[in-house]
């Protein structure tokens, strides 16, 4: 594998100014290799979606991004508006959680797909028509010729997400950012969409960053995962390693909360309490008030991400204790 296509360093995203500024993403760093699928995991409010949007500077008013986001050697955060427009949708595409609201309700699907081609390719009208039909086939929508002229409300949820993917892939992006693309879909459709994304990853040789709170999705699709808590990455590593031997108490808690079909019946673990608000992140390790392993040092000193094993990093003072406690995930998932 050659060097990473996306290199994120010390990403800091804040909202508001001065004393009231809230830090939603606090010094996040990670790499995405060519063809790799990275999962960003965390509870609601952990900063995973904001991280994803920060990569393309897609923040609501008042948001500010600092740090470096290197895309093929160029810093996205330093680009001009025009350069950025070339990257967005052309080289890096994004799909959203709610396929209903992410599609324009008053334009037929054909127009919305061709819109991307118009913005990023030199295709003429005939070329765009041919390409949009090809894309509909690619994402598995039957009867493309007729369905292209339909409006989003005429499609089911899963089909809408397919349309969204077709739009995102129109200009052959090299990186797909997926913001909980399956959360709004029912389980059988989820599985189809996940497989579609993986197939397209192989077919188009692109990398994928997946934001999700669903560890089942992560184990089924991702190569590597990064667990976020209160705006920071607390553990990062190959999915198999993290599932088999979590080194951060929070990751262990998350893994313990997955119900496992087929396994011997056991207690579901839950993590007590809720994630801290951005305005009141506790000193030391942000997770310490909810942590079973917390010791004195956790309340005073914020742990840094440290190499625990080859390509497995965690930010926990008691990583050894957590490792010794073992993974709550038995068999199937860890082997999967």
């Amino acid at each position: 594998m050659s060097g990473p296509v996306l290199r994120v360093r010390d990403l800091i995203t804040t909202f508001g100014q001065g004393a009231q500024a809230l830090c939603a993403v606090d010094g996040v760093s990670f790499d995405v290799g060519p063809g790799e699928v990275l999962g960003l995991v965390g509870e609601s409010g952990s900063g995973k979606s904001v991280t994803l949007r920060s990569l393309l500077r897609l923040l609501p008013a008042g948001g500010h991004v600092a740090g470096r986001v290197e895309w093929q050697g160029r810093d996205v955060l330093a680009m001009s508006e025009a350069e950025l427009r070339g990257v967005r949708g052309g080289q890096i595409s994004m799909i959203f959680q709610e396929p209903m609201t992410a599609l324009n309700p008053v334009l037929p699907v054909r127009v919305q797909i061709e819109e991307n081609l118009r913005a990023h390719t030199d295709l003429d009208g005939r070329g765009r028509r041919a390409r949009s039909r090809e894309l509909m086939d690619l994402v598995g929508i039957p009867d493309a010729g007729r369905r292209l002229d339909e409006y989003p409300h005429q499609f089911s949820g899963g089909m809408r997400q397919r349309v969204m993917i077709a739009i995102a892939l129109a200009s052959d992006p090299k990186l797909l950012l997926a913001d909980e693309p399956t959360t709004a879909l029912d389980v059988t459709i989820q599985d189809q969409i996940l497989h579609l994304i993986l197939d397209l990853r192989d077919a188009l040789a692109m990398s994928v960053v997946f934001v999700t709170h669903d560890l089942g999705v992560v184990s089924a699709t991702c190569d590597r995962m990064a667990v976020m808590y209160a705006g920071r990455i607390v553990e990062e590593g190959a999915v198999r390693d993290v599932f088999a031997g979590p080194r951060h108490a929070y990751t262990r808690g998350l893994l313990g909360s997955i119900p496992q079909a087929g396994a011997e019946r056991s207690m579901l673990l839950s993590i007590e309490g809720t994630p801290p608000g951005l305005a009141a992140i506790p000193p030391g390790c942000a997770f310490n008030p909810r942590c079973d392993f917390a010791t004195e040092i956790c309340r005073a000193v914020r742990p840094d991400l440290a190499e625990m094993a080859p390509v497995h990093r965690a930010a926990c003072h008691n990583a050894e204790a957590v490792a010794a406690a073992g993974s709550p995930v038995r068999s199937a998932l860890a082997d999967g």
């Binding site: 949007r53 393309l56 897609l58 008013a61 950025l84 427009r85 070339g86 990257v87 967005r88 949708g89 052309g90 595409s93 994004m94 959203f96 959680q97 709610e98 609201t101 992410a102 599609l103 324009n104 309700p105 008053v106 334009l107 819109e115 991307n116 913005a119 990023h120 969204m164 739009i167 995102a168 950012l177």
Partner: protein, 275 residues
């Protein structure tokens, strides 16, 4: 294709009725000579202030002019007023509203204060003031209504666009690398324009009333032109003896205004249903 007439029948009744009235009005406005029995300016000194009869169904005025012919010829001017007095406000107001709603921040705050300043004055008073400065006549009346009227469209569209800007598909547009202009005009505006179009229909009815009012006050269309407001003003001294001079143009105003209102209502119903 048997489903087309069925679809037409399923349209709301106000839309069909309003559409029919306006279609007829437009035809009369385009070809008044084809339906009017007399020249609207021809005077007949033998039949001054003649009551409605077979020869003059709506009677004649104090110059012996045929009231029916004048009412029909007035369609030309009054339908023009409905269109020209509202077209510029609609187009300009919509564009300004879309940009302001999308950009937000300081431009939006400034725009808000401009709106406040304009709506502080009663609409008619402001228009009369501007026409008095510019001088009476149809052209100046359009200018006066345009200067004031765009504000209402802009306010409606700005609010709608602001709502749309927060939806995912606006973000999706940005994520696809579309330019701001493309996002606003191609993606947000078609979703935000419905209330402005509906308001436009109502506004055309108001424009006819306003145009007639100004004509009545001598600030809009000028005599001897056939215009409903002018005609009503002509007849006001004869109300007790020759009611028909003022009443028939008044009925024409009511029917045309009703047509626009019904069309606006019907359109609102159809467009709401489509969402």
């Amino acid at each position: 294709m048997s489903h087309i007439p069925r679809r037409a029948l399923s349209l709301p009744r106000p839309l069909l009725l309003g559409g029919a009235i306006l279609l007829a009005s437009t035809l009369v406005a385009a070809f008044p000579g084809a339906v009017a029995p007399y020249d609207p300016l021809a005077m007949d000194y033998v039949n001054l202030l003649a009551p409605p009869s077979a020869a003059h169904p709506f009677g004649t005025d104090n110059f012996g002019r045929d009231v029916l012919s004048r009412v029909l010829h007035a369609y030309t001017i009054d339908m023009q007023i409905a269109l020209f007095a509202t077209l510029f406000p609609f187009v300009f107001g919509t564009l300004v509203g879309a940009v302001v709603g999308y950009v937000g921040g300081t431009p939006e705050a400034v725009f808000g204060r401009v709106v406040d300043a304009v709506i502080t004055f009663p609409f008619l008073v402001l228009v009369i003031a501007i026409v008095s400065v510019l001088g009476p006549g149809l052209g100046n009346m359009y200018i006066a209504i345009g200067v004031v009227g765009w504000v209402f469209y802009a306010r409606i569209v700005a609010a709608e666009v602001k709502v749309q800007t927060r939806l995912d598909y606006a973000d999706a547009g940005r994520a696809m690398g579309y330019t701001h202009a493309r996002i606003v005009f191609r993606h947000l505006l078609p979703n935000a324009i419905t209330p402005a179009v509906v308001y436009w229909m109502t506004d055309m009815a108001l424009a006819i009333l306003l145009g007639s009012s100004l004509g009545y006050l001598g600030l809009g269309a000028q005599p001897p032109a056939a215009e409903w407001g002018v005609q009503i003003a002509d007849g006001k001294n004869f109300m007790a003896t020759a009611w028909w001079i003022s009443v028939f143009p008044g009925i024409a105003i009511v029917i045309t205004g009703l047509g626009f209102s019904l069309l606006g209502d019907g359109l609102a119903e159809v467009l709401r249903g489509r969402r």
